[in-house]
Symmetry: C2
Subunit: 201 residues, 2 copies
Amino acid sequence: MSINPRQSTESRQAEIIATMVRLSAERSPAEITTTDIAKAMKVTQGALFRHFATKEAIRLAVVEWIDEHLMFELLAAKERSPDALIALKAMFMAHVGFARAYPGAPRLIFGELQQAAASPVKMRVQQIMQRYRQTLSQTLATAIEAKLIRADVDSASAAALFLGAIQGLIIQSMLSGSTEQMEQQAVGVLDLYLAALGVKS
Amino acid sequence: MSINPRQSTESRQAEIIATMVRLSAERSPAEITTTDIAKAMKVTQGALFRHFATKEAIRLAVVEWIDEHLMFELLAAKERSPDALIALKAMFMAHVGFARAYPGAPRLIFGELQQAAASPVKMRVQQIMQRYRQTLSQTLATAIEAKLIRADVDSASAAALFLGAIQGLIIQSMLSGSTEQMEQQAVGVLDLYLAALGVKS
DNA sequence: GTCGCTAGTAAGTAATAAGTTACTTACTAG
DNA sequence: CTAGTAAGTAACTTATTACTTACTAGCGAC
């Protein structure tokens, strides 16, 4: 007869992560408390600690969730593309689409990278970014080999600009408070980015 | 005989702002407390409230300080440039230089734009960004007129990519924890950005 | 000199945070 | 049907936060 029946730790962990991501879409992740999460789940605050030892463990699990799901989208976009240039475009739009589907995700990442020390959570974020850059560099190198983009493109700079372009779009959407315009702005910025690679539009 | 003599509200306000910016270079601005600021100034915590009514007033003053000083650097860079294209390069490097000189400044801005509601502080950040974009768009338009860059460049997208490029560099430096490599990375990214505008290097 | 104003101090306050604890309830294996 | 286990609750602890207040001391104007 209880409104909120007992559930397994596994499903509750997933629920806590999803709730954190959802709440982060509108508020600053740093000021979301365990009480906030618990209330949103219609559970008492203490119940959370049956499933995660500390709040930091929650944050780490959230970052891991983002990693898995974003990377899945990016790899899917890459693999469905016939060549490296189309892959770059698809990854760009997939990332923007992910940020639009889960607006809390980039806020959480930005919040974590503010942290000072080399906490496990921040190290995980570093790892995500590093692997992302590597994937981009590889794809760029493949595109160069296939003569799809300029041969003298510095792939490290090109990877940095790729990420910056997306981060800029996300920051802009955070400022305006809506992800509505992001997708069309993304098309314009992507066009310009491709021009930097020597692609004619 | 007191180590820390009495000072005017004006100079103390400046000191509080400078301390906040300095402390933000290493820690997350959101978790810098009034006690932290006071300790760094070798003053009691209550003393801060002689000079600012609330902590939010401090944050607002800090954002205004950043606005003034960053815009000063940008306009100086622009005005010392013989043409619009050189102005764009100079503004890019001036912004990167500012972020290197005051690493706390971008962290503070990122922290503020996480905020949910339309607080006075966030509105001020919005205003800064908006004016920045306008300045960039104007400069880009001038560069187009002078045939220094491609005529078919969409200046809104180009302004967005300019900002994103810089924000990407800053985020990367926040992750690595040092601003050392930022300046050389900036050169590579700027080169690529200019290529997007149709400038041959 | 001294008087008034203001910066500063020290010790508060109320609110809120994460995490703990003692106890209860529900499911399941034997 | 009963005993063990794991999820949940409610109330608590301890620490920390922004902000306040009663009082003190230094500086400039007269």
